[in-house]
Amino acid sequence: MKFSRNWLADYVPGLTADGAELGRQITMRTAECEGVEDHAPQLKDVCVARVESVEPIAGSPNVKAVVETGRYGRKTLVCGAPNCRAGLLTAYWPLGVKKIAGVGSEGMLCAGDELGINRDHNLIVELTDVAVGDPLPGLVPDAVIDIDNKSLTHRPDLWGHFGMAREVAATFGLELKDPTDISLLPSGEPQVNVQIEDFTLCPRFSAVVFENVKVAPSPLWFQYRLQAVGLNPINNIVDITNYVMAELPQPMHAFDADKVPGQTLIARAAKANERLEALNGETYDLDPSMIVVGGLDGPLAIAGIIGGDPSAIGDSTTRIIFEAANWNPVAVRKATVKLKLRTDASMRFEKSLDPENTLRGIARAIALMKLVCPEARLAGGVADVRGPAVAPAPIRISMPWMAKKLGRTIGQNEVVSILEALGFGVTSANGELEVTVPSWRATKDISMDADLVEEVGRIIGYASITPTAPRMDVVPPKINRERAFHNGLRRHLTHVGFTEVHNYSFVADAEARKFGFDPADHLRVLNPIAEDQALLRISLLPKIWKNIDDNRKHFDQFRLFEIGREIHKRPEGLPDEVPHLVAVVYAKDDGVAGLNQLKRLALDLLPEASFRAVAGVRSFEHPARTVAVMAGDTSVGRLFEFHPSFVEVGRAAVLELNLRTMEKLATGRTVAYTAVNKFPSSSFDLAVVVDARALAGDVAQHMPGAVFIEDYRLPDGRRSLLYRLTISRPDRTLTGEEVTAERTRLIEHLRAQGFELRA
């Protein structure tokens, strides 16, 4: 939303701050200013000039003109406008001499766009009733303050200059001048018949008829003001509606009264299959969720959004109906989404405009008609139909409460004067203030005491509040064990050489299928950014695989890990978000070092881990290099190498752990300390001969406490697994016989299990 500094100053006559200072103050007190720009600064140099003579320039469409500028003397210049003619009063801008079409041009005659008045570029401006050498009447340099629309979401009143002027007046402690003169409203029988079918859709509808209207361009000063805030001047009637919109803010619409059958306007829901050709030339299909201003024969305008072409103001229009209505913000917003059409009007109606403004809007339009269409005459009184008005309940606040919220003391007088400057009614009773909310703040912005803390705080300035530590109980916070556990894992992994990655939670259907996951098992995003980001991951592996594929282009070897959530659908309620750890070792050269390192890692993170053959491998797992990571009989994850068809160059070993299971196992894990044995221990070695593809894990589970020493390949292709057993007693030294007996017992036990022992 753009604000003209000069326009604001109309309502705050004492204002001296320039645009930049206004921008700063508005940012600190009201809403975020995104920038301040000078508008038409050249106007301080531009003056009225009379074209004295014009002569053609051979071979050029331009003419050579001699102009009398008064202020700058007589000048010769080149002008390309077809309306440049002797006797014309126009605008002269003194610029340096510049050669155009072989003629030295001393400055220029200006078109509307060159002076920020409108978008006319073809014709130079034509002035009447002005003196040569004078500044252009009503046109002075301005500053445009651009306020972030998002920061005005909750402030319908700030979508017009008068509302912002109120803030400015309160900020600077200046007086606010209301431009509206309600006494201008004519009484008597209205010449327009207004009906509202549903007050929730249209809380209020006001209208008035003018006759003897002459549609023409607005005076330049009027156009200039609209152009400064980005509204393009059209003609005097449409400009009035835009002016009132940008001022109060009350969007209005003007109908050609002769094209409104029966002079009847009906605020109602659209009917199925109704269509309207709008002012922008597009035809819109309407449905009953939208509101229209209907005539006797069908819709005339899409309420709060855009008018219809058939009843539009044209050059031949002589009678008009000004409409100022209040529309349901939600219905307007939904319609803009459906129609893909947002307008200056709809942006305002979406914000819940003040229903009290409709009559004020009509009154302003009447005042402006006198300025820009003086011939027009009011016809009949004002039509004003409204639903039941509900006065907002007053809000009670006490000074101690206000001080408690602000964190500083504040005098009652100061609070009262701030609230009154902002338009609140304040009465004092029983040590409390009773605050009445003005209609323009009551539609949704302000309804409770907390809202008033903001009103007072922002005007006194938050900088006046000293940061203070609160009084609070000293209580150690509850520890988030899951996060502490994950952070511990992160520290360990980085210490042993793994770098943490964060991957997206989205996967593509094709990606899921590639890994053998059924897309139907995934939670689907209904409005994905792209089809390849439509599923929520049920495994971290597809993206981890991508990390491997990306990074192997830059590194011959690397280690990385991710801790992230798998998201699993449940029949009801929210999905199950299960934290997982995936760690990867990639090496370009052949070898099993990666798997070894991850095996080490698994045991570091889960000391009781054992590795067990898996019944079936997944498509991306190396079928001969995949094991389950177990804690007793609980599966915790997998250790595998990526299938060569997934990682074609080099080898990528993967450890995948379910951290929910891991955390359960880690919870309550304590150190069971036993005193260091004072008596010497004895050791003996056992070599178990197994087939080439037997699992050492199957052997070891029969020898608790055995330490693996060596895996030796025998000449016949079988393997000899060497283990060392160490035994001791806490109360004495074992005898040689006892050691032998234990060894024998173990050998027999292993033989009984079908293992062969090497002599």
């Binding site: 975020e32 408690k404 705080g457 609160p470």
Partner: protein, 344 residues
């Protein structure tokens, strides 16, 4: 006897000139060993008169001391030479890079998140988690954003099957906090959030936020500012930072603020980083809206609070001057490996 004494005379020279430690040892045994020359001469003293014995004893003693000293000096010289030789031989190129594993790096988001978590835990805040797939109620309704609220347009939401959504902010954890804890309480909730936005150098659909909330009987704007200053001083590693509050609209706080920090590049005088304003917009915050307290099961007449939201992804980008947000979730080790190593 005289001959033997003559041998002693030459012994000193032999010790001093022994070419190897072994020969030195042999000469030592021969001269001053248990069965060496001195010992032998001592044995012959019994045949001497008492006067001669005294004179000879003295002479032998002096000779022995001289020889022993010479032996020790020579031996020390050999040891020292051997050590010198060893040291010389053990020359090593210590500039050769080490073998073995270099530590990896934690993700910069994890690092800043951990820093902030530690700070808040030290001030009595609990760390809470919430689901990434949220209910509409927690993400919007309970935060005073009813279905018709235009604020829902401000955030582009990913909707998923079952009527749920990917949380658009960490604020729903406020609601979970109020449902979990008995007041008074203080909590933060870092986590991943999602917005339906096209990704480019400065926009991401997946990023990390940190929500904070304090609920107590008397919580003021002054308290909020105190915590925010403490937080930002820590994040930016300064004794103190200058901040300012200005009005900002967020449906779940009232009053709501945008908190700006004075630009640390230009110290507030204006530069391209702060777009010449002297201030950098950093975090939205405010006093918890009474309606949000109510929906969280707390009585706003009794309890109040503040809440804030911090964009961790943005902080990381500011801290390291990262110009493209896409690096954060790229998984690219050329980027991530730069964040390793201890820092004080």
């Amino acid at each position: 006897m005289e001959q033997l004494f003559a041998a002693l005379e030459g012994g000193l020279e032999r010790l001093n000139s022994a070419p190897t430690p072994e020969e030195l040892e042999a000469v030592r045994v021969e001269l001053i060993g248990r069965k060496g020359l001195i010992a032998e001469l001592s044995k012959g003293m019994g045949k001497l008169s008492p006067e001669e014995r005294v004179a000879t004893g003295k002479k032998l003693n002096e000779a022995k001391q001289t020889l022993e000293a010479a032996y020790e000096a020579r031996q020390a010289a050999f040891k020292s030479a051997a050590l010198m030789q060893r040291l010389e031989a053990e020359w090593l190129d210590l500039t050769v890079p080490p073998s073995g594993l270099a530590p990896g790096a934690m993700h910069p988001i994890t690092q800043i998140q951990t820093e902030i978590e530690e700070l808040f835990v030290s001030m009595g805040f609990a760390v809470l988690d919430g689901p990434e797939v949220e209910t509409e109620f927690h993400n919007f309704d309970a935060l005073n954003i009813p279905p018709t609220h235009p604020a829902r347009d401000m955030q582009d939401t990913f909707w998923v099957e079952g009527g749920h959504l990917l949380r658009t902010h960490t604020s729903p954890v406020q609601v979970r906090g109020m449902q979990t804890f008995k007041p008074p309480f203080r909590m933060i909730a870092p986590g991943r959030v999602f917005r339906n936005e096209e990704v480019d150098a400065s926009h991401e659909h997946t990023f990390t936020q940190l929500e904070g909330m304090m609920v107590d009987r008397d919580v003021s704007i002054a308290n909020l500012t105190y915590f925010m200053k403490t937080l930002l001083a820590k994040i930016f590693g300064r004794e103190d930072v200058t901040v300012r509050l200005r009005p900002g609209y967020f449906p779940f706080v009232e009053p709501g603020f945008e908190l700006d920090i004075q630009c640390m590049v230009c110290e507030g005088s204006g530069c391209p980083v702060c777009k010449h304003s002297g201030w950098v917009e950093l975090l939205p915050c405010g006093l918890v809206h009474p309606q949000v307290l109510k929906l969280g099961g707390l009585d706003p007449a009794e309890w109040g609070g503040f809440a804030f939201g911090l964009g961790l992804t943005r902080l990381v980008m500011m801290r390291y001057a990262i110009d493209d947000i896409r690096w954060i979730n790229s998984g690219d080790l050329r980027f991530l490996n730069q964040f390793g190593g201890p820092r004080a």
